[in-house]
């Protein structure tokens, strides 16, 4: 498929390009990727999809780097995030890029969705493309929800406690769903592991696959172009994706990254004190994009709760998925689609109103307001405090002197020999192993005194491979050592 019919081209770079093209066919790939025709030419309105890809790459890169220091366990997660935030060079910056990036991602999704909706770009054999987009919306919201818990501070813990409680409102399967999400009836370290696995492996894998499908379906259907009648659209000039649209997408993407970078640099995200499940007074508030739903739920009390939490949101999501099947008219001009555009404005107004209402209610109630202010203050104090590493006792500390008193005189002497002969160097104090050492497990059950004596005098080849040296002790000393080994590591059986 190479363009040059007359043999290899001149020039070293051109020859290399030609050599690679013969093997990769990259010129055709590039042509397919870049020469996509856009009816009506490039527009700034089309940049949101590419913008989402830019931010998604930002999330992947910063996310992968954050796992260099993060540990997903209830007793370490908060310390490690604090370490990233307060100690690691650029840690606060990268974590802020990741956290703000998630907000920007949700925002761009809304814009991408709104643009597609207003332009009627879901019409004309684009049902699968739209469905895949809706699926991606759910996946990204899932990423935001699962990622929020990972710092394991107060707001993360309590917001997720509420979020997972919502699952239990689902009829029939609710109780099971909540158990499945939490890995138990209460929030705990298993919840964190599950959310981590979802956030880092399962959801990203699903997003990769869905983005590939979304792009494939987009290219198959072709760019929709501006919202004009079909015959008018056909007469419009056609521009290729490259260079004009690529350039607009790039300017937008780079602009987003720069704004995100400036925000992360000037106003890094905060980290609150470690989650305290015993604190029954904590008032959780979700991220801004969940606020309208949070407020909406308040209006449904008692038996009606299931309506607000499950039924109505499910109907809205289903209606969103089903849109291209419900709206079969080929008309794409916004002004000629009063129902469609009217409902979009209505939903948007309702979301804004709910969000504002939630904020207003919090400000009006003096008790709530005071509590929220106090929580923010606690967060500021924690964020300003210096990093404190987690204190751990070293392997074997304190263990050495704990047992010999229970041993026979011979075994007690053996215990000293175990130390002085250097056995504990490889096998740990008392032969308990730990910290990459070779534990001597339940020798008393596996060997007699004679067998063990023979074994330490002439270790098996696999033991010698591990560094075991023949023990040179004689007579009573050897008996003492063996007595100690059998006694200290007897497991249940008595020698």
């Amino acid at each position: 498929m190479s363009a040059e019919p007359g043999g290899p081209p001149a020039g070293r770079g051109a020859r290399l390009a030609h050599w690679l093209d013969l093997r990769l066919g990259w010129r055709q790939v590039m042509a397919t990727a870049l020469d996509e025709p856009i009816p009506g030419g490039s527009r700034w309105a089309y940049v949101f999809g590419s913008g989402l890809l830019f931010i998604f790459v930002n999330q992947i890169v910063t996310g992968v780097f954050l796992t260099l220091y993060y540990v997903p366990s209830a007793d370490h997660a908060h310390t490690t995030v604090s370490f990233i935030q307060k100690q690691v060079t650029m840690g606060s910056f990268l974590r802020s890029l990741h956290a703000y990036g998630s907000s920007v991602m949700v925002l761009l999704l809304m814009l991408h969705l709104a643009q597609t909706y207003v332009y009627g770009a879901y019409k004309g054999r684009r049902e699968l493309l739209w469905l895949m987009g809706c699926f991606l919306l759910l996946l990204v919201l899932g990423m935001a929800f699962t990622g929020y818990l990972l710092p394991w501070d107060q707001k993360a813990y309590f917001a997720t406690a509420v979020g997972t409680n919502i699952a239990s409102e689902v009829p029939l399967a609710g109780g099971f769903l909540k158990l499945l999400l939490r890995g138990g009836s209460e929030m705990g370290t298993l919840t964190l592991s599950r959310f981590f696995t979802l956030h880092v492996f399962l959801l990203p894998a699903a997003i990769f696959a869905a983005v590939a499908a979304h792009l494939f379906l987009f290219r198959k259907a072709g760019a929709a172009g501006p919202p004009r009648p079909a015959d008018e659209l056909r007469r419009l000039r056609v521009e290729t994706f490259f260079p004009s649209q690529v350039f607009k997408d790039f300017v937008f993407g780079i602009g987003l990254i720069l704004i995100l970078g400036a925000l992360a640099w000037r106003r890094p995200v905060s980290l609150g004190p470690v989650a305290n499940p015993a604190d029954a007074t904590y008032l959780p508030r979700p991220e801004w994009y969940y606020l309208p739903v949070f407020q909406f739920i308040k209006y449904f009390q008692g038996a009606a709760a299931v309506l607000g939490i499950v039924v109505i949101p499910a109907v809205v999501v289903l209606a969103l998925f089903a849109l291209p099947f419900l709206d079969r008219s080929p008309e794409r001009r916004p002004l000629r689609r009063p129902v469609a555009i009217g409902s979009l404005l209505l939903v948007f107004a309702a979301l804004v109103l709910l969000g504002v209402q939630s904020e207003v209610q919090d400000r009006r109630d003096p008790a709530v307001r005071a509590k929220l202010v106090a929580q923010e203050e606690a967060e500021r104090v924690y964020a300003a405090a210096p990093f404190m590493p987690e204190e751990n006792l070293g392997p074997g500390s304190g263990a050495a002197a704990s047992q010999p008193s229970a041993l026979s005189p011979a075994a007690a002497k053996g215990a000293l020999l175990f130390e002085s002969e250097g056995c504990s160097t490889c096998h740990g104090p008392q032969g308990h192993g730990g910290g990459g050492l070779f534990a001597l497990a339940s020798l008393g059950r596996r060997f007699s005194a004679e067998q063990l004596t023979a074994l330490v005098r002439a270790p098996r080849p696999d033991m010698q491979q591990g560094g075991m040296q023949p023990v040179q002790l004689q007579g009573e000393d050897m008996n003492a050592l063996v007595a100690f080994l059998l006694a200290a590591q007897r497991d249940t059986a008595s020698p």
Binding site: H76, T80, Q87, T89, G91, T240, F242, G467
Partner: protein, 177 residues
């Protein structure tokens, strides 16, 4: 059919945009790479703080001993986001010139702890049979050098030692932490 396809932009304009996009990507990529690299290199550029001095006891105690005396030093070591109490074996013995020296028990071969064998008058590493004399000098076996002497000081009537890690498997001593 009134289909109007605009011919692709002239090659010069296309390659100009191509170069522009490539250049912007390179600049932004480099800007992103700097914080990422610094983030990843943090533990390399900020190794944990050195161990504190540890009081072994009064020097007279050791001066009177006929043989090398084994002692355990414990110190707090910050390991990333956690702090651990590390215990290490040291030997208090006499140097070749007769003064007190404190040797790291860690064998400079592969890091096992060398043990004093009074009956044979030498330190022997139980892992690969490295032998050292009572001053810590290498006698035989695979270790590339003798046992490593640790920094010591006398203060307030006590012998203090500062535990250090040395690079194993090399002839010349090099402190690595």
């Amino acid at each position: 059919m009134g289909l109007l396809i605009e011919p692709p932009a002239p090659a010069t304009r296309r390659s100009f945009f191509g170069i522009l996009v490539g250049a912007i990507s390179a600049v932004v990529g480099a800007m992103m790479a700097v914080p990422l690299v610094r983030f990843a290199l943090h533990p390399v550029l900020h190794p944990g703080g050195a161990a504190d001095w540890f009081a072994l006891g009064s020097p007279e105690e050791f001066a009177g001993a006929a043989e090398p005396v084994r002692a355990e030093v414990s110190f707090r070591r910050v390991d990333g986001w956690r702090a651990t109490t590390v215990k290490q074996t040291v030997w208090v013995t006499r140097g070749a010139k007769g003064g007190l020296v404190v040797l790291s028990g860690t064998c400079p071969h592969l890091g096992c702890v060398a043990i004093w064998h009074g009956d044979r008058g030498r330190f022997i590493c139980p892992c690969h049979n490295g032998n050292f004399d009572r001053h810590g000098e290498r006698l035989s076996g695979p270790p590339p050098r003798g046992l490593d002497p640790l920094p010591v000081k006398l203060e307030g009537g006590k012998l203090w030692v500062k535990y250090q890690y040395y690079r194993p498997l090399v002839r010349d001593r090099e402190v690595i932490g």
